[in-house]
Protein backbone atom coordinates (compact mmCIF):
# COMPACT_ATOMS: atom_id res chain seq x y z
CA UNK A 1 0.00 0.00 0.00
CA UNK A 2 1.17 3.49 -0.74
CA UNK A 3 1.85 5.80 2.16
CA UNK A 4 0.42 9.28 2.37
CA UNK A 5 2.01 12.19 4.17
CA UNK A 6 -0.56 14.27 5.98
CA UNK A 7 -0.30 18.01 5.98
CA UNK A 8 -0.07 20.00 9.20
CA UNK A 9 -3.68 21.12 8.69
CA UNK A 10 -5.24 17.67 8.88
CA UNK A 11 -2.69 16.28 11.29
CA UNK A 12 -5.01 15.81 14.24
CA UNK A 13 -8.24 14.86 12.57
CA UNK A 14 -7.21 12.29 9.99
CA UNK A 15 -7.54 9.02 11.84
CA UNK A 16 -9.15 7.52 14.89
CA UNK A 17 -5.80 5.98 15.75
CA UNK A 18 -3.54 8.98 15.18
CA UNK A 19 -2.02 10.39 18.37
CA UNK A 20 -1.53 14.09 18.90
CA UNK A 21 1.91 14.90 20.28
CA UNK A 22 1.76 16.94 23.48
CA UNK A 23 4.51 18.40 25.64
CA UNK A 24 5.22 17.50 29.25
CA UNK A 25 5.56 20.78 31.15
CA UNK A 26 5.88 19.56 34.73
CA UNK A 27 6.71 16.29 36.48
CA UNK A 28 6.18 15.77 40.21
CA UNK A 29 7.01 12.72 42.32
CA UNK A 30 3.94 11.49 44.16
CA UNK A 31 5.45 8.33 45.68
CA UNK A 32 8.52 6.24 44.80
CA UNK A 33 6.43 4.52 42.11
CA UNK A 34 3.99 7.23 41.02
CA UNK A 35 4.54 10.50 39.20
CA UNK A 36 2.25 13.29 38.16
CA UNK A 37 2.72 14.61 34.63
CA UNK A 38 1.36 17.99 33.60
CA UNK A 39 0.86 18.06 29.84
CA UNK A 40 -0.05 20.79 27.37
CA UNK A 41 -1.85 20.26 24.08
CA UNK A 42 -0.43 21.88 20.94
CA UNK A 43 -1.29 25.53 20.33
CA UNK A 44 -2.63 26.00 23.86
CA UNK A 45 -5.73 23.96 23.17
CA UNK A 46 -7.69 22.31 25.97
CA UNK A 47 -8.14 18.56 26.11
CA UNK A 48 -11.86 19.17 26.73
CA UNK A 49 -12.16 16.15 28.96
CA UNK A 50 -14.85 15.59 31.54
CA UNK A 51 -14.05 14.35 35.04
CA UNK A 52 -13.42 10.59 34.99
CA UNK A 53 -12.44 10.23 31.32
CA UNK A 54 -9.18 8.73 30.13
CA UNK A 55 -6.66 9.19 27.33
CA UNK A 56 -4.55 6.72 25.37
CA UNK A 57 -0.92 7.64 25.97
CA UNK A 58 1.61 6.69 23.28
CA UNK A 59 5.32 6.34 23.53
CA UNK A 60 6.38 5.45 20.04
CA UNK A 61 8.27 2.21 19.93
CA UNK A 62 6.51 0.87 23.01
CA UNK A 63 2.84 1.34 22.23
CA UNK A 64 -0.13 2.82 24.03
CA UNK A 65 -1.75 2.57 27.44
CA UNK A 66 -4.99 3.97 28.84
CA UNK A 67 -4.41 6.50 31.63
CA UNK A 68 -7.10 8.36 33.57
CA UNK A 69 -6.97 12.13 33.48
CA UNK A 70 -6.44 13.25 37.04
CA UNK A 71 -7.09 16.95 36.65
CA UNK A 72 -10.40 18.75 36.37
CA UNK A 73 -11.51 20.40 33.11
CA UNK A 74 -12.11 23.51 35.20
CA UNK A 75 -8.32 23.93 35.25
CA UNK A 76 -7.62 25.16 31.75
CA UNK A 77 -4.55 25.11 29.55
CA UNK A 78 -3.19 21.76 30.65
CA UNK A 79 -4.19 18.34 31.90
CA UNK A 80 -2.50 15.99 34.35
CA UNK A 81 -1.90 12.26 34.51
CA UNK A 82 -0.99 10.43 37.70
CA UNK A 83 0.94 7.38 36.54
CA UNK A 84 2.16 4.32 38.45
CA UNK A 85 5.29 2.69 37.08
CA UNK A 86 3.73 -0.70 36.47
CA UNK A 87 4.65 -1.86 32.97
CA UNK A 88 6.97 -1.25 30.02
CA UNK A 89 5.17 1.85 28.78
CA UNK A 90 4.64 3.49 32.16
CA UNK A 91 8.26 2.71 33.03
CA UNK A 92 9.37 4.57 29.90
CA UNK A 93 6.98 7.40 30.75
CA UNK A 94 8.67 7.71 34.13
CA UNK A 95 12.04 8.20 32.38
CA UNK A 96 10.78 11.21 30.39
CA UNK A 97 11.80 14.76 31.22
CA UNK A 98 10.06 18.11 31.11
CA UNK A 99 9.97 19.20 27.48
CA UNK A 100 9.60 15.66 26.11
CA UNK A 101 6.53 14.75 24.08
CA UNK A 102 3.97 11.98 24.45
CA UNK A 103 1.26 10.96 22.00
CA UNK A 104 -2.29 11.46 23.20
CA UNK A 105 -5.59 10.16 21.82
CA UNK A 106 -8.85 11.02 23.49
CA UNK A 107 -10.42 11.91 25.83
CA UNK A 108 -12.45 8.72 25.79
CA UNK A 109 -15.10 6.99 27.83
CA UNK A 110 -17.95 7.96 30.08
CA UNK A 111 -17.49 10.45 32.89
CA UNK A 112 -18.71 11.43 36.31
CA UNK A 113 -22.03 13.01 35.43
CA UNK A 114 -21.66 16.14 37.54
CA UNK A 115 -24.96 17.53 36.27
CA UNK A 116 -26.75 14.67 38.04
CA UNK A 117 -24.65 15.17 41.18
CA UNK A 118 -25.66 18.82 41.62
CA UNK A 119 -27.24 19.55 44.99
CA UNK A 120 -26.36 16.08 46.29
CA UNK A 121 -24.13 15.19 49.20
CA UNK A 122 -21.09 13.46 47.76
CA UNK A 123 -19.06 10.56 49.11
CA UNK A 124 -15.90 10.41 47.02
CA UNK A 125 -14.28 7.12 48.01
CA UNK A 126 -11.03 5.98 46.46
CA UNK A 127 -8.34 3.45 47.15
CA UNK A 128 -4.73 3.30 45.92
CA UNK A 129 -4.37 4.59 42.37
CA UNK A 130 -8.11 5.24 42.31
CA UNK A 131 -7.39 8.69 43.66
CA UNK A 132 -5.94 9.65 40.26
CA UNK A 133 -9.28 9.67 38.38
CA UNK A 134 -11.11 10.71 41.55
CA UNK A 135 -8.89 13.80 41.81
CA UNK A 136 -10.48 15.13 38.60
CA UNK A 137 -13.85 15.09 40.38
CA UNK A 138 -12.49 16.41 43.69
CA UNK A 139 -10.89 19.35 41.87
CA UNK A 140 -14.14 19.90 40.00
CA UNK A 141 -16.08 20.05 43.30
CA UNK A 142 -13.41 22.37 44.67
CA UNK A 143 -13.71 24.74 41.70
CA UNK A 144 -17.52 24.60 41.56
CA UNK A 145 -18.15 24.96 45.27
CA UNK A 146 -21.79 25.59 46.00
CA UNK A 147 -23.01 23.25 43.26
CA UNK A 148 -22.83 20.22 45.54
CA UNK A 149 -23.91 19.45 49.10
CA UNK A 150 -21.68 18.15 51.84
CA UNK A 151 -18.72 16.44 50.20
CA UNK A 152 -16.65 13.70 51.81
CA UNK A 153 -13.22 12.70 50.48
CA UNK A 154 -12.43 9.20 51.71
CA UNK A 155 -9.08 7.71 50.73
CA UNK A 156 -7.19 4.56 51.62
CA UNK A 157 -3.69 3.43 50.69
CA UNK A 158 -1.68 0.35 51.61
CA UNK A 159 0.96 2.21 53.64
CA UNK A 160 1.95 5.83 54.34
CA UNK A 161 4.56 5.75 51.57
CA UNK A 162 1.83 4.84 49.06
CA UNK A 163 -0.41 7.80 49.81
CA UNK A 164 -0.89 9.83 46.62
CA UNK A 165 -1.33 13.60 46.35
CA UNK A 166 -0.23 14.11 49.97
CA UNK A 167 -0.05 17.89 49.63
CA UNK A 168 -3.52 18.12 48.18
CA UNK A 169 -4.96 15.73 50.75
CA UNK A 170 -3.65 18.10 53.42
CA UNK A 171 -5.32 21.02 51.67
CA UNK A 172 -8.57 19.12 51.33
CA UNK A 173 -8.36 18.13 55.02
CA UNK A 174 -8.02 21.79 55.96
CA UNK A 175 -10.70 22.97 53.53
CA UNK A 176 -14.24 23.86 54.49
CA UNK A 177 -15.43 22.38 51.20
CA UNK A 178 -14.59 18.80 52.12
CA UNK A 179 -14.70 16.46 55.05
CA UNK A 180 -11.61 14.39 54.33
CA UNK A 181 -10.61 11.06 55.91
CA UNK A 182 -7.45 9.15 55.04
CA UNK A 183 -6.39 5.71 56.18
CA UNK A 184 -3.62 3.22 55.51
CA UNK A 185 -3.96 -0.56 55.70
CA UNK A 186 -0.81 -0.95 57.79
CA UNK A 187 2.33 0.83 58.96
CA UNK A 188 5.61 -0.87 58.11
CA UNK A 189 8.09 -0.99 60.98
CA UNK A 190 10.10 2.17 61.36
CA UNK A 191 7.55 4.35 59.59
CA UNK A 192 6.55 7.59 61.24
CA UNK A 193 2.79 8.02 60.83
CA UNK A 194 0.11 9.24 63.20
CA UNK A 195 -2.97 9.02 60.99
CA UNK A 196 -5.78 6.47 60.85
CA UNK A 197 -4.85 2.84 60.35
CA UNK A 198 -7.31 0.29 59.02
CA UNK A 199 -9.03 -0.75 55.81
CA UNK A 200 -10.96 1.90 53.93
CA UNK A 201 -14.19 0.18 54.93
CA UNK A 202 -13.56 1.28 58.54
CA UNK A 203 -13.94 4.93 57.51
CA UNK A 204 -17.49 4.56 56.26
CA UNK A 205 -19.60 3.56 59.33
CA UNK A 206 -18.82 6.73 61.38
CA UNK A 207 -19.75 9.13 58.55
CA UNK A 208 -22.76 11.30 59.30
CA UNK A 209 -24.65 11.24 56.03
CA UNK A 210 -28.18 11.67 54.78
CA UNK A 211 -28.47 8.62 52.53
CA UNK A 212 -31.51 9.84 50.59
CA UNK A 213 -29.69 12.90 49.26
CA UNK A 214 -26.28 11.26 48.78
CA UNK A 215 -24.29 10.01 45.80
CA UNK A 216 -21.31 7.73 46.42
CA UNK A 217 -18.50 7.58 43.87
CA UNK A 218 -16.12 4.63 44.30
CA UNK A 219 -12.81 4.16 42.47
CA UNK A 220 -10.13 1.71 43.47
CA UNK A 221 -8.58 -1.71 43.03
CA UNK A 222 -10.92 -4.59 42.12
CA UNK A 223 -10.92 -6.06 45.63
CA UNK A 224 -12.18 -2.81 47.15
CA UNK A 225 -15.55 -2.40 45.45
CA UNK A 226 -17.49 -5.26 46.97
CA UNK A 227 -16.60 -4.42 50.56
CA UNK A 228 -16.98 -0.64 50.24
CA UNK A 229 -20.34 -1.07 48.55
CA UNK A 230 -21.47 -3.44 51.32
CA UNK A 231 -20.67 -0.70 53.87
CA UNK A 232 -22.46 1.93 51.79
CA UNK A 233 -25.57 -0.23 51.63
CA UNK A 234 -25.46 -0.57 55.41
CA UNK A 235 -25.58 3.23 55.54
CA UNK A 236 -28.77 3.18 53.50
CA UNK A 237 -27.28 4.08 50.12
CA UNK A 238 -28.89 2.19 47.26
CA UNK A 239 -27.14 0.75 44.18
CA UNK A 240 -28.65 3.44 41.95
CA UNK A 241 -26.93 6.09 44.11
CA UNK A 242 -23.49 4.55 43.61
CA UNK A 243 -21.12 5.36 40.75
CA UNK A 244 -18.02 3.27 40.05
CA UNK A 245 -15.10 3.67 37.69
CA UNK A 246 -13.60 0.39 36.50
CA UNK A 247 -10.15 -0.40 35.20
CA UNK A 248 -9.61 -2.70 32.24
CA UNK A 249 -6.92 -3.36 29.65
CA UNK A 250 -7.78 -1.13 26.69
CA UNK A 251 -5.79 -1.12 23.49
CA UNK A 252 -7.94 1.11 21.31
CA UNK A 253 -10.12 3.18 23.65
CA UNK A 254 -12.93 3.25 21.10
CA UNK A 255 -14.77 -0.05 21.52
CA UNK A 256 -13.08 -2.01 18.75
CA UNK A 257 -10.18 -4.08 20.11
CA UNK A 258 -12.34 -6.12 22.49
CA UNK A 259 -9.93 -6.32 25.44
CA UNK A 260 -12.11 -4.46 27.94
CA UNK A 261 -15.46 -6.19 27.56
CA UNK A 262 -17.65 -6.83 30.59
CA UNK A 263 -20.28 -9.18 29.21
CA UNK A 264 -22.08 -7.00 26.60
CA UNK A 265 -20.41 -3.73 27.65
CA UNK A 266 -17.14 -2.18 26.53
CA UNK A 267 -15.41 -0.56 29.48
CA UNK A 268 -13.74 2.03 27.22
CA UNK A 269 -16.99 3.02 25.52
CA UNK A 270 -19.83 2.29 27.93
CA UNK A 271 -17.50 3.01 30.88
CA UNK A 272 -15.14 3.34 32.63
CA UNK A 273 -17.69 5.21 34.77
CA UNK A 274 -20.87 3.23 35.43
CA UNK A 275 -23.86 3.56 37.71
CA UNK A 276 -23.41 0.52 39.90
CA UNK A 277 -26.95 -0.79 39.38
CA UNK A 278 -26.17 -1.06 35.63
CA UNK A 279 -23.30 -3.49 36.19
CA UNK A 280 -23.91 -5.10 39.56
CA UNK A 281 -25.40 -8.23 38.00
CA UNK A 282 -22.79 -8.56 35.26
CA UNK A 283 -20.35 -11.38 35.77
CA UNK A 284 -16.78 -10.23 36.26
CA UNK A 285 -17.66 -6.54 36.54
CA UNK A 286 -16.23 -6.18 40.05
Amino acid sequence: MAVETKTEKDKDSASLYRPVFCRIVRISDLTPTEKLFRIEMPEGRDLNQKPGQFVQVSILGLGEAPISVSSSPTRRGYFELGVRNAGALTNALHQLKVGDEVGIRGPFGTFFDVEKFKGKDMLLISGGCGLAPMRSLIQYCEDRRGEFGKTFVIYGAKAPADVLYKDELEIWQGSDIFETHVTVDNIPQGTCYDGHVGLITTLIPPLEIEPEKSIAVVVGPPVMYRFVIMELKKKGIREEQIVVSLERYMKCGVGKCGHCTIEHLYCCLDGPVFWFNEISNLRGAI
Partner: protein
Protein backbone atom coordinates in the same frame (compact mmCIF):
# COMPACT_ATOMS: atom_id res chain seq x y z
CA UNK B 1 -30.66 -13.60 -16.40
CA UNK B 2 -27.13 -14.30 -17.58
CA UNK B 3 -25.88 -17.84 -17.11
CA UNK B 4 -22.12 -18.15 -17.25
CA UNK B 5 -19.62 -20.97 -17.44
CA UNK B 6 -16.59 -20.90 -15.17
CA UNK B 7 -14.50 -19.92 -18.20
CA UNK B 8 -16.83 -17.00 -18.91
CA UNK B 9 -16.60 -15.90 -15.27
CA UNK B 10 -12.82 -16.05 -15.48
CA UNK B 11 -12.92 -13.97 -18.69
CA UNK B 12 -15.17 -11.46 -16.95
CA UNK B 13 -12.83 -11.24 -13.96
CA UNK B 14 -9.85 -10.68 -16.26
CA UNK B 15 -11.77 -7.92 -18.01
CA UNK B 16 -12.38 -6.03 -14.75
CA UNK B 17 -8.93 -6.67 -13.29
CA UNK B 18 -7.64 -3.22 -14.38
CA UNK B 19 -10.43 -1.57 -12.36
CA UNK B 20 -10.41 -3.73 -9.22
CA UNK B 21 -8.13 -5.30 -6.66
CA UNK B 22 -9.47 -8.83 -7.14
CA UNK B 23 -9.84 -11.33 -4.26
CA UNK B 24 -11.25 -14.47 -5.81
CA UNK B 25 -11.33 -18.09 -4.67
CA UNK B 26 -8.20 -19.82 -5.91
CA UNK B 27 -6.74 -23.27 -5.40
CA UNK B 28 -3.29 -23.25 -3.84
CA UNK B 29 -0.47 -25.70 -4.55
CA UNK B 30 -1.34 -27.76 -1.48
CA UNK B 31 -4.91 -28.24 -2.67
CA UNK B 32 -6.50 -25.85 -0.21
CA UNK B 33 -8.54 -22.85 -1.29
CA UNK B 34 -7.99 -19.24 -0.44
CA UNK B 35 -8.92 -15.75 -1.61
CA UNK B 36 -6.26 -14.29 -3.87
CA UNK B 37 -5.48 -12.68 -7.19
CA UNK B 38 -6.05 -14.40 -10.54
CA UNK B 39 -2.29 -14.77 -10.94
CA UNK B 40 -1.90 -16.58 -7.63
CA UNK B 41 -3.69 -19.81 -8.54
CA UNK B 42 -6.46 -21.28 -10.67
CA UNK B 43 -9.97 -19.96 -10.06
CA UNK B 44 -11.84 -22.32 -7.75
CA UNK B 45 -15.53 -21.48 -7.54
CA UNK B 46 -16.62 -24.96 -6.53
CA UNK B 47 -16.16 -26.22 -2.98
CA UNK B 48 -18.02 -23.83 -0.70
CA UNK B 49 -16.59 -21.58 1.92
CA UNK B 50 -12.98 -20.50 1.96
CA UNK B 51 -11.43 -22.06 5.10
CA UNK B 52 -9.77 -18.86 6.33
CA UNK B 53 -11.52 -15.85 7.88
CA UNK B 54 -13.16 -14.28 4.80
CA UNK B 55 -13.50 -10.86 6.42
CA UNK B 56 -9.68 -10.68 6.54
CA UNK B 57 -9.98 -8.92 3.17
CA UNK B 58 -11.08 -5.82 5.09
CA UNK B 59 -9.70 -6.67 8.55
CA UNK B 60 -6.40 -8.41 7.78
CA UNK B 61 -4.39 -10.45 10.27
CA UNK B 62 -1.89 -7.62 10.55
CA UNK B 63 -2.15 -4.12 9.17
CA UNK B 64 -0.19 -0.96 9.53
CA UNK B 65 -1.75 1.85 11.50
CA UNK B 66 0.93 4.44 10.83
CA UNK B 67 4.63 4.97 10.28
CA UNK B 68 6.77 7.56 12.03
CA UNK B 69 10.07 8.11 10.31
CA UNK B 70 13.14 9.75 11.78
CA UNK B 71 11.91 13.20 10.67
CA UNK B 72 9.15 12.84 13.28
CA UNK B 73 6.27 13.05 10.83
CA UNK B 74 3.49 10.49 11.21
CA UNK B 75 2.37 8.99 7.94
CA UNK B 76 -0.97 7.25 7.86
CA UNK B 77 -1.72 4.42 5.49
CA UNK B 78 -3.39 5.43 2.26
CA UNK B 79 -6.25 3.38 0.77
CA UNK B 80 -5.38 1.11 -2.13
CA UNK B 81 -5.56 2.67 -5.56
CA UNK B 82 -8.29 0.30 -6.74
CA UNK B 83 -11.47 -0.78 -4.94
CA UNK B 84 -11.55 -4.37 -3.75
CA UNK B 85 -13.76 -6.89 -5.54
CA UNK B 86 -14.37 -10.07 -3.53
CA UNK B 87 -15.75 -13.17 -5.20
CA UNK B 88 -16.51 -16.31 -3.25
CA UNK B 89 -18.21 -15.27 -0.05
CA UNK B 90 -20.99 -17.59 1.02
CA UNK B 91 -24.39 -16.25 2.11
CA UNK B 92 -23.23 -16.71 5.73
CA UNK B 93 -20.06 -14.75 5.01
CA UNK B 94 -22.19 -11.90 3.64
CA UNK B 95 -24.18 -11.93 6.90
CA UNK B 96 -20.91 -11.75 8.85
CA UNK B 97 -19.66 -8.86 6.75
CA UNK B 98 -22.91 -6.98 7.30
CA UNK B 99 -22.42 -7.35 11.04
CA UNK B 100 -18.78 -6.28 11.15
CA UNK B 101 -19.64 -3.28 8.94
CA UNK B 102 -22.03 -2.29 11.71
CA UNK B 103 -19.50 -3.08 14.43
CA UNK B 104 -16.71 -1.02 12.88
CA UNK B 105 -19.01 1.94 12.14
CA UNK B 106 -20.85 2.14 15.48
CA UNK B 107 -19.85 5.01 17.81
CA UNK B 108 -16.39 5.54 16.36
CA UNK B 109 -15.90 4.81 12.67
CA UNK B 110 -12.80 2.66 12.21
CA UNK B 111 -11.04 4.38 9.33
CA UNK B 112 -8.54 1.53 8.83
CA UNK B 113 -11.39 -0.87 8.11
CA UNK B 114 -13.42 1.47 5.95
CA UNK B 115 -10.55 2.60 3.79
CA UNK B 116 -10.60 -0.97 2.44
CA UNK B 117 -14.33 -1.58 2.69
CA UNK B 118 -15.60 1.67 1.14
CA UNK B 119 -16.14 1.22 -2.57
CA UNK B 120 -15.64 -2.53 -2.45
CA UNK B 121 -17.84 -4.99 -4.31
CA UNK B 122 -19.01 -8.31 -2.88
CA UNK B 123 -20.01 -11.28 -5.00
CA UNK B 124 -21.51 -14.25 -3.20
CA UNK B 125 -21.22 -17.72 -4.72
CA UNK B 126 -24.08 -20.09 -3.90
CA UNK B 127 -26.21 -22.96 -5.19
CA UNK B 128 -24.97 -26.35 -6.34
CA UNK B 129 -21.28 -25.70 -5.80
CA UNK B 130 -20.73 -26.71 -2.18
CA UNK B 131 -18.29 -29.33 -0.93
CA UNK B 132 -19.05 -32.79 -2.34
CA UNK B 133 -21.76 -31.30 -4.57
CA UNK B 134 -23.68 -29.87 -1.61
CA UNK B 135 -26.05 -26.94 -1.95
CA UNK B 136 -24.98 -23.54 -0.63
CA UNK B 137 -27.65 -21.21 0.70
CA UNK B 138 -28.67 -18.40 -1.67
CA UNK B 139 -28.01 -15.01 -0.07
CA UNK B 140 -30.78 -13.17 -1.95
CA UNK B 141 -29.17 -9.85 -1.01
CA UNK B 142 -26.57 -8.48 1.44
CA UNK B 143 -24.09 -8.43 -1.43
CA UNK B 144 -23.74 -6.61 -4.75
CA UNK B 145 -24.07 -9.60 -7.00
CA UNK B 146 -24.61 -13.31 -6.54
CA UNK B 147 -23.42 -16.14 -8.73
CA UNK B 148 -25.88 -18.99 -8.24
CA UNK B 149 -24.70 -22.36 -9.50
CA UNK B 150 -27.23 -24.67 -11.13
CA UNK B 151 -24.77 -27.55 -11.18
CA UNK B 152 -23.10 -26.61 -14.44
CA UNK B 153 -23.26 -22.86 -14.86
CA UNK B 154 -23.52 -19.78 -12.66
CA UNK B 155 -26.53 -17.49 -12.92
CA UNK B 156 -25.77 -13.83 -12.18
CA UNK B 157 -28.21 -12.01 -9.93
CA UNK B 158 -27.42 -8.35 -9.15
CA UNK B 159 -28.78 -6.63 -6.06
CA UNK B 160 -27.15 -3.19 -6.14
CA UNK B 161 -26.26 -0.60 -8.75
CA UNK B 162 -22.60 -1.63 -8.51
CA UNK B 163 -23.66 -5.22 -9.07
CA UNK B 164 -25.82 -4.28 -12.06
CA UNK B 165 -22.93 -2.37 -13.65
CA UNK B 166 -20.71 -5.42 -13.33
CA UNK B 167 -23.41 -7.75 -14.58
CA UNK B 168 -23.62 -5.68 -17.78
CA UNK B 169 -19.96 -6.44 -18.39
CA UNK B 170 -20.47 -10.20 -18.15
CA UNK B 171 -20.51 -12.01 -21.49
CA UNK B 172 -22.73 -15.07 -21.13
CA UNK B 173 -23.36 -17.75 -23.76
CA UNK B 174 -26.77 -18.50 -22.29
CA UNK B 175 -29.72 -16.77 -20.64
CA UNK B 176 -32.17 -18.35 -18.16
CA UNK B 177 -35.68 -17.27 -17.27
CA UNK B 178 -35.74 -17.75 -13.53
CA UNK B 179 -34.04 -19.41 -10.62
CA UNK B 180 -37.16 -20.37 -8.73
CA UNK B 181 -36.25 -24.03 -8.40
CA UNK B 182 -32.84 -23.12 -6.99
CA UNK B 183 -34.42 -20.66 -4.53
CA UNK B 184 -36.82 -23.39 -3.46
CA UNK B 185 -33.90 -25.71 -2.78
CA UNK B 186 -32.25 -22.97 -0.76
CA UNK B 187 -35.41 -22.34 1.25
CA UNK B 188 -35.67 -26.04 2.01
CA UNK B 189 -32.17 -26.34 3.43
CA UNK B 190 -32.30 -27.70 6.98
CA UNK B 191 -32.15 -25.11 9.76
CA UNK B 192 -31.33 -27.48 12.62
CA UNK B 193 -28.06 -25.69 13.44
CA UNK B 194 -29.80 -22.33 13.63
CA UNK B 195 -32.44 -23.72 15.97
CA UNK B 196 -29.69 -25.24 18.10
CA UNK B 197 -27.68 -22.05 18.57
CA UNK B 198 -30.87 -20.06 19.15
CA UNK B 199 -31.86 -22.50 21.89
CA UNK B 200 -28.33 -22.47 23.35
CA UNK B 201 -28.48 -18.68 23.36
CA UNK B 202 -31.78 -18.74 25.27
CA UNK B 203 -30.36 -21.15 27.82
CA UNK B 204 -27.21 -19.08 28.39
CA UNK B 205 -29.21 -15.88 28.73
CA UNK B 206 -31.55 -17.58 31.19
CA UNK B 207 -28.52 -18.63 33.30
CA UNK B 208 -29.38 -22.30 32.77
CA UNK B 209 -25.81 -23.25 31.90
CA UNK B 210 -23.84 -23.91 35.11
CA UNK B 211 -20.24 -22.87 35.68
CA UNK B 212 -19.24 -26.55 35.82
CA UNK B 213 -20.09 -26.82 32.13
CA UNK B 214 -17.65 -24.05 31.22
CA UNK B 215 -14.96 -25.67 33.37
CA UNK B 216 -15.45 -28.89 31.41
CA UNK B 217 -15.33 -27.13 28.03
CA UNK B 218 -12.45 -24.91 29.15
CA UNK B 219 -10.45 -28.00 30.12
CA UNK B 220 -10.67 -29.14 26.51
CA UNK B 221 -9.38 -25.86 25.09
CA UNK B 222 -5.70 -25.99 24.15
CA UNK B 223 -5.61 -22.23 23.44
CA UNK B 224 -4.57 -22.77 19.82
CA UNK B 225 -6.78 -19.73 18.98
CA UNK B 226 -7.80 -21.20 15.63
CA UNK B 227 -11.49 -20.57 16.46
CA UNK B 228 -10.97 -16.82 16.79
CA UNK B 229 -8.66 -16.57 13.82
CA UNK B 230 -11.09 -18.41 11.54
CA UNK B 231 -14.25 -16.62 12.74
CA UNK B 232 -15.49 -13.92 10.35
CA UNK B 233 -17.12 -11.95 13.18
CA UNK B 234 -14.18 -12.05 15.60
CA UNK B 235 -12.74 -8.55 15.52
CA UNK B 236 -10.45 -8.36 18.57
CA UNK B 237 -7.01 -6.98 17.93
CA UNK B 238 -3.76 -6.15 19.68
CA UNK B 239 -1.71 -3.05 18.82
CA UNK B 240 2.07 -3.01 18.91
CA UNK B 241 5.00 -0.90 17.74
CA UNK B 242 8.07 -2.05 15.85
CA UNK B 243 11.20 0.06 15.51
CA UNK B 244 13.74 -0.41 12.75
CA UNK B 245 16.45 2.01 11.59
CA UNK B 246 14.83 4.95 13.34
CA UNK B 247 11.40 4.27 11.88
CA UNK B 248 8.53 3.29 14.15
CA UNK B 249 5.71 1.29 12.70
CA UNK B 250 2.48 0.84 14.65
CA UNK B 251 0.47 -2.18 13.58
CA UNK B 252 -2.59 -4.00 14.72
CA UNK B 253 -2.94 -7.75 14.67
CA UNK B 254 -5.76 -10.18 15.41
CA UNK B 255 -5.92 -11.19 19.05
CA UNK B 256 -7.66 -14.07 20.76
CA UNK B 257 -9.83 -14.06 23.87
CA UNK B 258 -8.64 -17.64 24.44
CA UNK B 259 -5.19 -16.42 25.49
CA UNK B 260 -4.35 -15.85 29.14
CA UNK B 261 -2.89 -12.40 28.56
CA UNK B 262 -5.87 -11.11 26.58
CA UNK B 263 -7.28 -9.02 29.44
CA UNK B 264 -4.37 -9.04 31.87
CA UNK B 265 -3.66 -5.54 33.17
CA UNK B 266 -0.28 -4.07 34.05
CA UNK B 267 -1.24 -4.43 37.72
CA UNK B 268 -1.50 -8.19 37.25
CA UNK B 269 -5.28 -8.17 37.66
CA UNK B 270 -6.79 -10.50 35.07
CA UNK B 271 -10.59 -10.52 34.70
CA UNK B 272 -10.28 -13.60 32.43
CA UNK B 273 -7.57 -15.46 34.28
CA UNK B 274 -8.85 -19.00 33.83
CA UNK B 275 -9.59 -21.20 30.83
CA UNK B 276 -13.24 -21.70 31.77
CA UNK B 277 -13.91 -17.95 31.92
CA UNK B 278 -12.20 -17.44 28.58
CA UNK B 279 -14.06 -20.28 26.88
CA UNK B 280 -17.35 -19.09 28.31
CA UNK B 281 -16.57 -15.63 27.02
CA UNK B 282 -15.97 -16.87 23.46
CA UNK B 283 -19.33 -18.61 23.28
CA UNK B 284 -21.22 -16.17 25.50
CA UNK B 285 -20.01 -13.23 23.42
CA UNK B 286 -21.65 -14.50 20.21
CA UNK B 287 -24.72 -16.11 21.72
CA UNK B 288 -25.59 -13.87 24.67
CA UNK B 289 -23.55 -10.66 25.09
CA UNK B 290 -24.04 -9.59 21.48
CA UNK B 291 -27.73 -10.51 21.65
CA UNK B 292 -28.02 -8.01 24.49
CA UNK B 293 -25.88 -5.39 22.78
CA UNK B 294 -26.94 -5.71 19.15
CA UNK B 295 -30.26 -7.51 19.39
CA UNK B 296 -29.17 -10.61 17.49
CA UNK B 297 -26.77 -13.54 17.48
CA UNK B 298 -23.38 -12.80 15.93
CA UNK B 299 -22.64 -16.38 14.96
CA UNK B 300 -23.92 -16.92 11.42
CA UNK B 301 -23.14 -20.63 11.35
CA UNK B 302 -20.33 -20.54 8.84
CA UNK B 303 -18.87 -23.51 10.71
CA UNK B 304 -15.23 -22.43 10.53
CA UNK B 305 -14.55 -22.65 14.29
CA UNK B 306 -16.00 -26.16 14.35
CA UNK B 307 -13.86 -27.12 11.36
CA UNK B 308 -10.73 -25.62 12.91
CA UNK B 309 -11.03 -26.72 16.54
CA UNK B 310 -8.82 -29.75 17.29
CA UNK B 311 -10.79 -30.57 20.44
CA UNK B 312 -14.29 -30.24 19.03
CA UNK B 313 -15.46 -27.23 21.03
CA UNK B 314 -16.49 -24.99 18.17
CA UNK B 315 -19.65 -22.97 18.66
CA UNK B 316 -22.01 -25.44 16.97
CA UNK B 317 -20.58 -28.33 18.91
CA UNK B 318 -20.78 -26.51 22.26
CA UNK B 319 -24.30 -25.33 21.47
CA UNK B 320 -25.40 -28.89 20.79
CA UNK B 321 -23.99 -29.95 24.17
CA UNK B 322 -25.77 -27.08 25.93
CA UNK B 323 -29.10 -27.94 24.33
CA UNK B 324 -28.71 -31.66 24.96
CA UNK B 325 -27.93 -31.16 28.64
CA UNK B 326 -29.87 -28.12 29.76
CA UNK B 327 -32.96 -27.61 27.65
CA UNK B 328 -36.14 -28.39 29.56
CA UNK B 329 -37.14 -31.10 27.12
CA UNK B 330 -33.90 -32.95 27.81
CA UNK B 331 -33.64 -32.27 31.53
CA UNK B 332 -33.94 -35.38 33.62
Amino acid sequence: MKSLTITEIEQFLKSVEPEFDLRVPIRLHDGTRSLGGLNEGPLSLMGGKIPLKPTSVFFPQTERVFTRESDGEIKMEKPGEKPILVVGYTAEDADCLEFIDKFFSENFRDDLYFQKRDGSVIMVVSGKCGPDGGFLKIAGGKCDLELICDGERFIAQAYTEKGRQLEKKMKASKEVGDIDSLKKMSDELPDDDLKTIQKASELILAEKVPDAFWVEIGDRCIACTSCNYACPTCTCFEVYDRVHDGTTVRERMWDSCQLDGFMREASGHNPMGTEDIRTRRRIHHKLAADVTRWGHLTCYLCGRCDDACPTNIGIKSVSRMIVERYSQANEK
